[in-house]
């Protein structure tokens, strides 16, 4: 990421300085503090003015916390549940019972992995139909048990491959979206990295949908959009701007309900702080969602998406025939 270059250079300087002072037993605390302040300043300056394309790159940063980090760092308990009981266990989607403080819930999330080996096993977070079917199966179980659902979204998109099509990728995503409108437990969805199109929405219908500050959510990847509309991969940054895919954009459009602030310089600079923020918000949100009477839940969720982000007065309230 070009905009991180000056920051990285300063961070490198700081490391060298610290080593040097350690080795030679020098008290360089004043210089180190000054350097730290300069790093903070340059981070603030760089991140105050990120382009949408920069933000997409922050969302994809290899050091950015992924679902497994949130599970390890924010959950007090986690018991993974595998498989769709029909075809297989798609590692690109993780499901399981989780607990934070006194709140028990079902966790569903895209899994990207961190090491190259994990990334390959998780197919870089690109799920197959069996992943979506696993998610739906466990969510329906959660609904029967009265467990709320927390969904962590982080996928470049559902996988476009031969097997995925053979096993009904489109139908699997559609069944999930439809199915999530009939789960009588609260659903909290949080975009933690990439919100890649239908593959994201396949576990993304929520009573509350939040985004981490530097995540993105889009109908198509900027690369795909540039290739199709501009027929020019070089125009990817323009496509990223045109698509209005950043968290502030989605707030403004009224598509998401809130943005979780990240540490200065992005979640990859201080994973634990990002994870702690998410945990705090998760607890607050779950408590609020649990106050909605069960009978109201589906009605509200359906009405929310029925009129989501619509310009007031543009469309009629309902298409029902007037007698």
């Amino acid at each position: 990421m070009a905009f991180e270059k000056p920051i990285q250079e300063l961070e490198e300087q700081l490391r060298e300085f610290e080593e040097l002072s350690d080795r030679n037993n020098l008290d360089a605390s004043a210089e180190i503090a000054a350097l730290r302040a300069r790093i903070e300043e340059s981070i603030d300056a760089a991140y105050a003015d990120l382009s949408p394309w920069d933000r997409v790159n922050v969302a994809r940063h290899p050091e950015r916390p992924v679902a497994s980090d949130y599970i390890a760092g924010a959950m007090d308990d986690f018991f993974e549940l595998h498989g769709d009981r029909t075809f297989g266990d798609d590692r690109a989607i993780v499901t399981g019972f989780a607990q934070v403080e006194d709140q028990r819930f079902l966790l569903v999330g895209h899994r990207k992995g961190r090491t190259m080996k994990e990334r390959l096993a998780c197919n870089f977070g690109c799920a197959h139909p069996e992943g979506y079917r696993k998610a739906l199966r466990k969510m329906q179980l959660a609904a029967r048990m009265g467990l709320p659902i927390v969904s962590l979204i982080n996928t470049p998109g559902a996988y476009p491959g031969i097997g995925a099509e053979e096993r009904g990728q489109a139908g699997a995503i559609a069944e999930n979206i439809l199915g999530m409108f009939s789960l009588e437990v609260p659903i909290l969805a949080i975009v933690i990295g990439e919100g890649g199109s239908g593959g994201a929405l396949g576990i993304g219908v929520g009573d509350r949908v939040l985004m981490m500050e530097y995540s993105y959510y889009s109908v198509i990847s900027p690369e795909g959009c540039a290739a199709i509309l501009w027929k020019d991969g070089e125009r990817t940054p323009d496509a990223a701007s045109a698509l209005r895919l950043t968290a502030p954009d989605l707030m403004q459009l009224g598509v998401v309900d809130g943005v979780i602030k990240e540490p200065s310089g992005g979640a990859h600079r201080d994973r634990q702080r990002a994870i702690d923020s998410m945990r705090r918000v998760l607890l607050e949100e779950l408590k609020l969602l649990k106050e909605i009477p069960k009978a109201e839940l589906l009605k509200r969720r359906r009405a929310k998406y029925r009129h989501l982000a619509a310009v007031p007065g543009r469309f009629p309230e309902s298409g029902a025939a007037t007698p």
């Binding site: 690109c126 470049p156 998109g157 559902a158 476009p160 491959g161 031969i162 099509e165 096993r167 009904g168 990728q169 489109a170 139908g171 995503i173 559609a174 069944e175 979206i177 439809l178 409108f181 890649g196 199109s197 239908g198 593959g199 929405l201 219908v205 959510y217 889009s218 109908v219 198509i220 990847s221 900027p222 690369e223 795909g224 959009c225 290739a227 199709i228 509309l229 501009w230 323009d238 496509a239 045109a242 698509l243 209005r244 895919l245 989605l250 459009l253 598509v255 969720r301 359906r302 998406y305 029925r306 989501l308 982000a309 310009v311 543009r314 469309f315 309902s318 298409g319 029902a320 025939a321």
Partner: protein
């Protein structure tokens, strides 16, 4: 990995024999490249049409009298909204509803001209304000609510108006206790409306959930091509899912898949017959049997 994993990859409407190279860029804009379309445009009102599947020359009137199906090889030509309504509805029975809504350029999306201008031009060309035509109709005497996605309108792509009209149609169907019959031909979500178009996948499904809970009945007939966010939302989750013969149906377009996996796709991949074999559609219905089949299925839906 290819970047085009989004559910909105565009498509051209090429027939089976050229499958594999089929998916093209933007819905609508690709038309320029489609030989078939050029021919039609080159000979406005021309008497002859060449079938893109079997290359036979067809007398235009024969083709039209045959529901735009090639009399030689049964290739189903893509039809526009008006043609579809005429083909399906009893003569004179169609009454358009929710026709007035126009797309809004809420993102101020610019690429080689503004989205607002594109919509305006397309509306003038097609005579429809948007890609979904909806209304009341009768099919062999059975009253229905009919929705038709028109591929000729920006590739039948789904933006806010398409999603809204579909949802309104679900509500109309529920209130009139009529079956909902929907025809799709679409490249998926409309990129120019960004995440707002993605959210139509959820809007249409929420409306279908309501219709279903109200005891409604819905049928979707997927025509060539149906992909992306339309396949991955309402089209695949109506009560019955039908397909026209030889239609390209899938999540990702074939070009995106071929680029991603870097290999050629097997013959017949993502065609209706492939989906039937894999268990994803209830039946394939040729146009010649379409009306009678819809009527029969509607009769079954009302119980014994």
């Amino acid at each position: 990995m290819s970047a085009e994993i989004a559910g909105s990859a565009g498509l051209s409407e090429e027939p089976q024999k050229r499958q594999g190279q089929a998916a093209e860029g933007e819905l609508g804009e690709t038309r320029r490249r489609s030989r078939l379309r050029w021919k039609k445009k080159d000979m406005p009102g021309g008497l002859w049409v060449k079938c893109d599947a079997c290359s036979q020359t067809i007398y235009r009137k024969d083709l039209e009298d045959n529901n735009m199906v090639c009399p030689h090889c049964s290739f189903h030509f893509t039809v526009n909204g008006t043609q579809r309504v005429q083909m399906v509805a009893d003569e004179g029975s169609f009454e358009e509803r929710f026709g007035g809504f126009e797309a809004m350029d809420r993102l101020e999306f610019e690429n080689n001209g503004s989205y607002a201008e594109k919509v305006k031009k397309t509306a003038e060309k097609t005579g429809h304000a948007e890609a979904l035509v909806s209304g009341l109709a009768e099919v062999c005497g059975r009253p229905v609510v009919l929705c038709v996605l028109d591929f000729k309108f920006l590739g039948g792509s789904m933006g806010e108006v398409v999603g809204e009209k579909f949802a309104l149609s679900c509500e109309l169907a529920a209130s009139l206790k009529r079956p909902l019959v929907v025809f799709t031909s679409s490249g998926g979500a409309r990129m120019h409306e960004g995440v707002l178009s993605l959210m139509q996948m959820a809007k249409t499904c929420s409306a279908l959930a309501e219709l279903s809970d109200a005891g409604g009945f819905s049928i979707c007939v997927m025509a060539n091509p149906t992909t992306g966010g339309v396949t991955a939302s309402f089209a695949m989750v109506t009560d019955l899912v039908l397909a026209e013969p030889g239609a390209l149906i899938g999540f990702a377009g074939p070009r995106v898949i071929a680029t991603t996996i870097k290999q050629e796709l097997p013959p017949g991949f993502q065609r209706s017959e492939f989906l039937l074999e894999k268990g994803h559609v209830d039946a394939i219905v040729p146009r010649s049997e379409l009306r009678e089949t819809l009527a029969k299925l509607i009769d079954y839906s009302s119980g014994s």
